[in-house]
């Protein structure tokens, strides 16, 4: 391991969890006073520890994006608190430290790249933080390598594919040396190849560079490798568990409009008909083994 070891932080400096959310509630303001405000989040509790890969899943409007906006200090909760390494996101003075600590990658690959050249885009966050020129150049080289985009240093964003643009966005966040990255549906607008590229990058950051990841998505299959999955529906957390624990709750997931890996669903259907199969089958190979034992 070389200097990339610097990314591995199994203990945050303050000894705090990276993300801590307590009794968080939020309703979007309504223009019309007669209208009932829609509760986007009600009483959310969540902790993400250093080095973890936590997935948040839920359909559109389940509150998962609202949560990410609160974590980044973009909106202020009505009640409850969110802390990033012990810094309360309501604390206006800490806002830049919070955003530097928990970096954020958004859904639309086009609308988060600022510069017409890849390398200056990656440098943007560091420039804002006042990093000296030679340090920026070094870091740009390093983070482009981490996301496998070194060959595109001088490329122009509009010539890249969606997956490549998202990897540039990730590099731009990595360059700010965050302790955690919040991914707000980064794959929703990508084709299967692009999704594969981005998921590979996210997993690599978590596994090989110790990056804490909070991944928000509505694709179940992207969370097979997560440490923990949080299922949200109607602004509430309805289940928390390991991927196998969550996926085996086929009936609950279907009820709230989420997909289940096909093999898990097939196992569920066969079990209903009396087959003695494990509940937590995820892959084709596990299914073949279970059926041909």
């Amino acid at each position: 391991m070389n200097e990339q070891t610097a990314y591995i932080k199994h203990q945050s400096p303050s000894g705090e969890p990276i993300i801590r959310v307590e009794n968080l509630s939020y309703a979007y303001p309504v223009e019309d006073e007669n209208q009932e405000p829609k509760q986007a989040l009600s009483d959310i509790n969540l902790t993400v520890n250093p080095g973890e890969f936590v997935g948040i899943i839920g359909h559109n409007g389940s509150g998962k994006s609202t949560l990410s906006k609160i974590l980044n200090g973009i909106i202020v909760p009505d009640s409850g608190d969110a802390w990033i390494e012990g810094m309360n996101t309501k604390d206006a003075e800490k806002i830049w430290d919070i955003r530097k600590t928990a970096g954020m990658v958004f859904q639309n690959p086009d609308n988060q790249l600022v510069s017409s050249v890849v390398e200056t885009d990656v440098a943007f966050g560091m420039e804002n933080l006042g990093v000296p020129s030679d340090k920026i150049k070094e870091k740009v080289t390093e983070v482009l390598d981490m996301v496998g985009m070194s060959d595109y240093r001088k490329a122009r964003p509009h010539q890249l594919s969606g997956g490549q643009k998202q990897r540039i966005a990730i590099a731009g966040i990595l360059a700010m040396k965050p302790d955690c990255i919040i991914f707000d549906e980064p794959t929703a607008m990508l084709d299967p190849n692009g999704r594969g590229e981005v998921m590979k990058t996210i997993l690599d950051l978590n596994r090989n560079h110790g990056m804490t990841v909070l991944h928000i998505t509505h694709y179940m299959s992207e969370l097979v490798n997560a440490d923990r999955i949080v299922v949200m529906d109607n602004g509430k957390i309805v289940a928390v568990g390991t991927p196998r624990e969550i996926f085996s709750k086929v009936a609950m997931l279907k009820k709230i409009g989420l997909d289940v890996p096909q093999m898990t669903e097939l196992a569920y259907l066969l079990r209903q008909d009396g087959y003695d199969l494990p509940q937590d089958i995820l892959t084709i190979r596990e299914m073949v083994e279970a059926l041909c034992h």
Binding site: I74, R99, V114, E127, N128, S133, I173
Partner: protein, 274 residues
């Protein structure tokens, strides 16, 4: 398929002109334009043509490419020439009915159209040899030393660079919206002027909605990356003058001196120019 359109008209060759500091190129061009209005005699114009030819040669950009920038201006150049030639009163050299050419008119028409040609060629060689990004950086640096506009320098430059970034995206988007509305039977080609203008609403509204949405998301993404204006910001590439820039400024000073001095020489030339 707007993907490959290059913005502005940047023509990269990696020449010494391309490698100059953008401030040098902007300042040089600016000074050159002023000098073009100072010059009033053939020698001065010869120097102006000479220095421009030298820059074009050094830039390694094909001459046809440079000349292409003049194309949309041919009409104006010709008009300038003709108007000055026939409309300037003075010592009459030639007359036919109400048309006449005066000695002063001949001089003015040649000088004015030459001035236009040099002015346009001079600025287009700068944009051909400087990437839009560098141009923005150079303008920001130049503006931030001028009192008064100093405090807007960063904001203006940031706006320009974001515009540069989003022009290709929005062009692609426009193309898509046009096609989508055509697929719903839109007809942009027939009808009178008012009908045609009305037909544009289904394009413009979605385009504006999309541009605002993009702007909103981009602002959020920029803040998430700790952007808070120009104060305390550093740059990855800090502009710094090299030896070539010093040489360029010396050349500029010499040219300027020669062009100004040329005003004070009297010419025993066979031209009817005094």
């Amino acid at each position: 398929m707007f993907k490959d359109i290059t913005l502005g008209q940047y023509y990269p060759t990696g020449s010494v002109i391309h490698r100059l500091d953008p401030r040098t190129k902007i300042n040089f061009t600016f000074a050159y334009i002023i000098l073009l209005f100072v010059v009033n005699n053939p020698v001065g114009y010869l120097i102006a043509i000479g220095i421009l030819a030298l820059v074009i040669a050094l830039s390694k950009i094909p001459f046809v490419y440079v000349a292409r920038g003049l194309k949309p201006l041919i009409f104006i150049v010709v008009l300038t020439f003709v108007l000055n030639m026939f409309m300037t009163p003075g010592q009459v050299l030639w007359q036919w009915k109400f048309l006449h050419i005066s000695r002063q008119g001949l001089k003015l028409s040649i000088f004015m159209s030459l001035r236009l040609v040099l002015l346009v060629t001079g600025t287009s060689i700068m944009t051909l040899a400087t990437s839009p990004m560098d141009l923005t950086d150079g303008m920001e640096a130049d503006m931030s030393v001028i009192p008064g506009i100093k405090r807007f320098a960063h904001d203006l430059a940031m706006m320009m660079s974001i515009a540069l970034r989003f022009i290709p995206t929005l062009m692609e988007e426009t193309d898509k919206i046009i096609k989508a509305q055509k697929a719903r039977g839109a007809d942009f080609e027939t009808g009178n002027l008012i009908e045609r203008a009305k037909a544009l609403i289904p394009i413009l509204v979605p385009l504006f909605v999309s541009a605002f949405r993009r702007a909103d998301e981009l602002a959020t993404a920029m803040e998430a990356r700790c952007y808070r204006g120009g104060a305390g910001r550093t740059r990855m590439y800090v502009l710094s003058y090299q030896k070539a820039d010093t040489i360029a400024y010396v050349v500029l000073a010499a040219t300027a001196a020669a062009m100004i001095l040329s005003r004070f020489i009297s010419y025993p030339w066979p031209f009817p120019f005094n």
